[in-house]
């Protein structure tokens, strides 16, 4: 279900749904949910199945039930577009929750912060918690470890017999971890592995550390 990881003496758990739980602070980090995207498309005449809307909420509920966090932090791109009726569903969902909710705003978050405030959600540009920095876009800042989203990272795995598979992932470098996109109907961007980075792939019901193998160049089949 979840995979533990220690970062700077703090304990975290990566969930297969793409959320990250911070144990010491009882915080759940969720990035790039893109609520409202399905409804936005439908409003403009593209018939994306409406049933996909509910899935985001069900998955968030599952993750919350599993970790029971005190605080929920959206790492940006919470609402995909301008206002549509999916907001009402979100409003109802928030009303039922007892935990604190904070939004670290991203490039898609164009709704007025007042809308969020009205339902008890604080909107901030970034958060500094101890030696950790939470932002939507990946950042580098002296002495701080950065959690971010925005990229929708995925990794390509290769094996013998020309096998490949692409999976969404948590992508960690020395001072940074990029969270996978949580939302349905959002897509991914494939990242190359780098020296000293750690990659954790989402398998659908598990999180798996990805072995990284150094190769000289693309293998060519010999004659």
């Amino acid at each position: 279900m979840a995979h533990p990881i220690q970062i700077r003496d703090q304990s975290f758990k990566m969930h297969f749904s793409g959320t990250l739980f911070w144990e010491e602070r009882s915080m759940l980090l969720v990035s790039d949910v893109h609520l409202g995207k399905v409804s936005h498309f439908r409003k403009y005449g593209a018939a994306v199945p409406q049933a996909a809307v509910q899935k985001n909420f069900d998955m968030m509920d599952e993750s919350i039930a599993y970790f029971k966090p005190k605080t929920l932090i959206f790492m940006g791109d919470l609402f995909h577009s301008s206002l549509n009726r999916e907001w009402e569903i979100f409003e109802n969902w928030v009303q039922e929750k007892t935990l604190d909710i904070i939004l670290v705003s991203g490039n898609h978050d164009i709704l007025s912060p007042l809308k969020y405030k009205a339902i008890g959600i604080n909107v901030v540009e970034e958060m500094v918690l101890g030696s950790f920095l939470l932002t939507h876009h990946p950042m580098e800042r002296d002495g701080l470890f950065n959690f971010s989203g925005h990229i929708h990272p995925a990794i390509k795995l290769s094996g013998l017999g020309r096998q490949t598979v692409k999976l969404p992932c948590f992508y960690k470098t020395e001072h940074q971890m990029i969270l996978p996109a949580f939302g349905e109907f959002t897509g991914t961007f494939t990242l190359e592995p780098c020296n000293g980075c750690e990659v954790y792939a989402l398998l659908g019901d598990a999180v798996l550390p990805v072995p990284i193998k150094e190769v000289k160049k693309k293998r060519r089949r010999s004659k």
Binding site: H40, R42, L157, E192
Partner: protein, 822 residues
Amino acid sequence: MNREELFNIAQEWFQEQHWKPFKFQKDTWKAFLQGKNGLLNAPTGSGKTYALWFPIVLNYMKQNPEYRTKHKKGLKAVWITPLRALSQEIKQSAERVTADLGTQMTVGIRSGDTSTKERARQKKQMPDLLITTPESLQLLLATKGYDKIFKDCSAIVVDEWHEILGTKRGVQMELALSRLKGISKELRIWGISATIGNLEQAREVLLGPGTNAFDNSILIKANINKKITVKSIIPKKMETFPWRGHLGLHLLEDVVPIINHSTTTLLFTNTRSQCEIWFQKILEKHPEYAGEMAMHHGSINKETRVWVENAIRNEDLKAVVCTSSLDLGVDFAPVETVVQIGGPKGVARFLQRAGRSGHRPGKESVIYFLPTHAIELIEASALQKAVKLNSVEDRLPYLNSYDVLLQYLTTLAISNGFYPKEIYREIKETFCFQAITEEKWQWLLNFLVMGSQSLQSYDEYKKVEVEEDGKFTVTNKGVAMRHRFQIGTIVGDANLAVKYQKGGYIGSVEEFFISKLNRGDVFTFAGRNLEFIRIKDMTVQVRNSNKKTNKITSWMGSRLTLSAQMSELLREELYSSSEPKEKQSKEIRALAPLFERQRRESIVPRPNEFLIESFKTREGYTHIFYPFEGRFVHEAMGSLLGYRISLLTPITFSLAFNDYGFELLSDQPIDIQQVLDNDLFSTDYMLDDLQKSLNATEMARRKFRDVAIISGMVFTGYPKKNIKMKHLQSNSQLLFDVFRDYEPENLLYQQAFTETFEHQLEEGRLRLSLERIATQNIIWKQCDKATPFSFPLITERMNREKLSSEKLEDRIKKMAALLMKK
């Protein structure tokens, strides 16, 4: 005027030109004037335009006896051409007829190239004769009051119907015709087609099965026999024949004397990148051709293409390297010789290309075939036979293309609106939708109005609305505007314009190619070396460069497959290698060293044998199967077999295929004996197994892209405008996944699978070839190394598909992310 008098007018005109009308021309005039519909089977350059322009004009003269002094305005006839590049020439021939016969009729063109001003003028007053494309015709149907425009239209001529027939543009045409039949009572529908295997069916598709229009129709054949000579270019030394590259460049010097010996030579290549490479290499080795040689393919800008076409006509060029972009239309009299580089994969296409030379009635056509690898010589030998037998392929029409129907219904909704009852009756008479049920029809209407099958809470879906009297309309201006931009059924990859930084359009390339380039990289495109500067507003900015480069623009475009006819001939030629030498063609004889080596390592199959080879390489365990049925059937058979093997044991394959066979590559060996013992080539449960093979899903995913765009679910953005529509542009792959998870019963999602089975996997042919294999002895050879037959296949790096029955977790345990060492 009676018919005889009208005929005399036409005959006189021909005499003035010192021509004599062909029988097929006179037959067509007669049938048209009798009010008949029909299909005219005539090749390009045979005078087919006069076969139909004449009766159209004569009919006008008949109905308006004072045609010399009085001009009755309004649209009389529409001429549909699949290539707008051809419209100018069609216009000229029409104008000749209208002017010489003393009418005051006007001729106009309406296509993507027509200016907004001209279009507005036409809207006010249509020309008498209009030349347009299938897409522009749909756009006319998207105009308010289109019924008034077509009210007095007497004829619709669909030119090059064989090109349109087997595509979704054909469906688009069927739908437009079904509407126009209802509007203009005097309408005659005519198609013009080159020779294809299913001409009778082509007529049925054009006119609608069982309709009055079909009953009142005729098939006229021009029967112009043209002598075609095929000459293979056989490499002098077979041992030095390269196994890789597949471009045929090693035979470049053999082409030079051919070019030198004729006025103009066309060199046909199968892909645009091959075209670029050949052009560059010839110039590199023979700079003396500079200025006398040109290149022509679909991604080069229009001005250059038109210039090349004119230069061919004026005999200014010695040679032109081209792709299928020069397959159609336009009369190029000076072309004396044609060279086909690489297998043309189909007889009809080869004949059409051969027909580009000696483009005058009665003249002999000469075509050279240049093989790009050894086994293609077998293809060359098969082609010789095919030309002799004139065994031409069928063009398979589409059935139940719901995406095109949804687009069409939206088109009607944004112009006049439509009543479902009336339109249902009309589309039911088309070939494509003859089997549609009331239930499916209702599904489509629900989809248009609600975006689903029932009203849902919190939903704001908006597209088509229903008025109180039951009329379906679009009131939202945004919906209407986006739809107009989206009309069409040809879906390309995301294209970027290539321009000089200082301006000047060079052509277009696909996003996937440019995304691999970095600033400062030099690449070859349109015969120039260009330095990549940046991408800005969907434009690739470049400057000229003197640097040498090996980066040549490539396109993803789908590859052609061997037709059933060609495959059969190919197998016969292959079998002939075991016959005595006298019975062999010279191509097969030239291949003797290759067959010898193949026999040493493995066998050359005979008619009653089916060959499977296994060997191990650094990459894993390779298993190669040789049905010789064309790449599409091989893709299907490979997936089917892979799936069935994976039921026996958890295993993962990558699948590669070409026109001769397919390869299953795995990290573990397959026991072929087990495959045979379990009868895995059986046709039982074939479709069911195919559906379950992961590969079919991957293929359907690709087909779904077109379906999603055509049906209007994915918006591709405004052409040539920098309006940011990113927030509405979704990835069709993502959409496919959402449908798979939430709405697998959706007709459009289902359609992607149906199209995969019928058009991509060629289910019918697959069944036939499995039945053939069932009658053959299967010979399994365990080889030490790769055999000559296997080389073209295992060196092919394209089209790798995956298939697996292992649990994702188990698969991944054996894998790693690769970090490239700098």
